[in-house]
């Protein structure tokens, strides 16, 4: 009975563990592939080449372009979503009918599949009948090229990402704002502290764990964004929106170069693992904090 008691939790987690293992196998396969010369079109060339794939991608200008595209995308989406999300959360912080209703409605874009969100915007910015183009014509912008021009495709993608994921940051920060203790604000009120001082010295510091967790979460997703980009521009025009996963996808299915694609994915995984490591620590802190308060 004693032994079975000790084993019991393992029995309960066993099925989940098996799924775990089922995922670790392809993961290690990928790492292995990244050390192979492996092109589906040339199976006879298959062979172990150590780090040649890594050397080849790092000496390839298009890989550095991919890194630049992914980092630009991540940087701008997270910054804009944070500023907008925080702004909206502050605007909706007070509980009343309109704010509560908006709090519910604004979550809707987040619940739309990112790939479908891209398609929605594709219909809105269509050069023939797009309603956004029509609206822009009133402010004098007549031929904005959106996804079909290398200079504006990034802007379009970031706009769609912001549309989908700002609600994510907004909803977390809103919950954080509403959970803040009242006392420091009341004390500041009594002392006649100016509003901006209250914001920068009380609200922001107390909200910081929420902000950090939300941002890390978004960074992790943004740097791997595939759905939005693939559904809008498939990396184009040219290579102007060739983010990590889109590039690896094309490398696999267009050029059938499995080894190179795997090497790219391992690089992305290393970045994500690093971010994930920081994220989990922050997230855990926040979890303990919110559970301690309640």
């Amino acid at each position: 009975m004693k032994i079975s008691n000790r084993l019991f939790p393992y029995v309960l987690t066993l099925p989940a563990l098996l799924v775990c293992v089922g995922i670790l196998i392809p993961f290690f396969t990928s790492v292995y592939y990244s050390l192979l010369r492996y092109n589906l079109k040339m199976p006879y060339m298959k062979g172990f080449i150590w780090f040649d794939n890594y050397i080849s991608i790092f000496s390839d200008a298009s890989f550095w372009n991919t890194i630049r595209v992914s980092l630009t995308y991540t940087f701008f989406t997270v910054i804009i979503e944070l500023v907008l999300g925080l702004g909206i959360a502050l605007l909706l912080a007070k509980r009343n009918f309109i704010n509560n209703l908006l709090g519910v409605l604004l979550v809707l874009p987040l619940m739309i599949a990112p790939a479908l969100a891209s398609l929605i915007w594709r219909l809105l910015i269509n050069p023939n009948f797009g309603v956004v183009n029509y609206m822009l014509s009133f402010v004098g912008v007549t031929d904005f090229r959106w996804a079909s021009h290398p200079d504006s495709v990034m802007f379009t993608l970031i706009m769609i990402d912001v549309w989908v994921f700002t609600p994510f940051i907004m909803i977390l920060l809103l919950a954080g704002l509403r959970a803040l203790p009242r006392q420091p604000f009341e004390a500041a009120e009594l002392d006649g502290v100016p509003e901006y001082y209250k914001f920068f010295r009380i609200t922001l510091p107390m909200l910081f764990p929420y902000i950090l967790t939300a941002c890390l979460f978004r960074m992790l997703e943004s740097i791997q964004q595939f759905d939005i980009i693939y559904a809008l521009s498939q990396g184009g025009p040219g290579e102007s929106s060739m983010a990590f996963q889109v590039s690896a996808y094309l490398q696999t299915f267009q050029y059938t170069n499995i080894g190179k694609a795997a090497a790219m994915m391992v690089v992305l995984w290393a970045i994500c693992y690093f971010l994930c490591f920081i994220f989990v620590r922050q997230w855990h802190k926040l979890k303990e904090k919110t559970r301690g308060v309640s």
Binding site: R6, F8, P9, L12, T13, P15, A16, V19, C20, G22, I23, P26, F27, T29, S30, G87, L91, L105, L106, V107, L108, P109, M111, I112, A113, P114, A115, L116, I120, L123, L124, F129, V131, Y134, W163, L172, A175, G176, T213, F217, L220, Q224, F226, D227, Y230, F244, Q245, A248, Y249, T252, I258, W269, C272, L275, F279, V280, W283, L286, K287, T290
Partner: protein, 284 residues
């Protein structure tokens, strides 16, 4: 800043937020009730006589366009696929995830936290890293293009989600209730099914629905691991928009039908959404 200026600024901010975030949804919705005649007008039409032609066409699989022949569309199958994949993914996740979540919440056991965090890290692993080898494996063992394989891969997103949210709900239940019930001579199994699960039920239900939404919204797994016969609406809609000559109203209609289920579910679980989206870290 003067108070009235501040109010004006706030009012404009509200308008801007509503327009940017909600107008696209409304516009697509209105497009789905139009034919190409009204959509393609130079000045976008707000007033038009709504037609259900698109919805009927989508359901029946064929639509006749004036001046053209009849067109066949296969979107209904995508909808059915989405439903099958999401429902079975959630069911499997529930069976695998709820007992595991309970174990992580109740027992301190060696390696427990490590396993839990490994599962969490899957949520953030690049999807293609795992799918590319899986694609080759599945092709080799004949699992490519099967619901079974896709449901299994979907666990990658749904299982960590459910595990970590439900774990939080189990942690909130006092151990004493379970112990008291078990002192009466009831087995662990009975206390699990009659005490723990019913007490955590709202949380489990909400996270199951959130898992459903995430499964429904997934795009990349089915894009790579399935052919068009088992692909869900997310992939189907993309094929739809890139195919030529499909009326724009019909495309909009397909998008509306694809996003409507998740939007409605989101309204049902909005009380639990914060806790779900933060994987159980923040309470709404």
């Amino acid at each position: 800043m003067k108070p009235y200026l501040w109010s004006l600024f706030k009012f404009l901010a509200y308008i801007a937020i509503i327009v940017f975030f909600l107008f696209p949804i409304l516009w697509i919705f209105s497009m789905s009730f139009q034919t190409n005649d009204t959509i393609l007008q130079k000045v976008p039409s707000i007033f038009f006589t709504p037609t259900f032609k698109n919805y009927i066409g989508l359901w029946e699989g064929e639509i006749s366009i004036e001046g053209f022949a009849t067109m066949y569309v296969f979107f209904k199958q995508n909808l059915i696929n989405s439903l099958i994949l999401s429902v079975f993914s959630v069911l499997v996740t529930l069976i695998l995830g709820v007992p595991a979540a309970y174990a992580f919440a109740r027992y301190k056991f060696k390696g427990g936290e490590d396993i839990a965090f490994t599962l969490l890290s899957f949520r953030f692993a690049p999807a293609l890293l795992i799918i590319i080898p899986l694609n080759l494996y599945f092709t080799k063992i004949g699992l490519y293009d099967s619901y079974f394989a896709l449901v299994w891969v979907y666990q990658l997103i749904t299982l960590p989600l459910l595990l970590w949210i439900v774990r939080g709900y189990f942690e909130d239940i006092s151990v004493d209730i379970e112990n008291a019930y078990r002192l009466d001579g009831h087995s662990w199994l009975k206390s699990f099914f009659y005490i723990s699960i019913p007490l955590a039920r709202p949380g489990i239900a909400a996270s199951a629905l959130l898992c459903f939404i995430y499964a429904w919204n997934n795009f990349v797994f089915a894009l790579i691991l399935g052919s068009s016969s088992i692909q869900p609406v997310t992939v189907g809609a993309l094929a739809f928009i890139t195919a030529s000559a499909i009326p724009y109203g019909l495309i909009a209609c397909g998008i509306v039908v694809s996003v409507l289920p998740t939007l409605i579910l989101a309204l049902f679980i909005q009380k639990y959404l914060v806790q779900g989206l933060s994987l159980g870290a923040v309470k709404g």
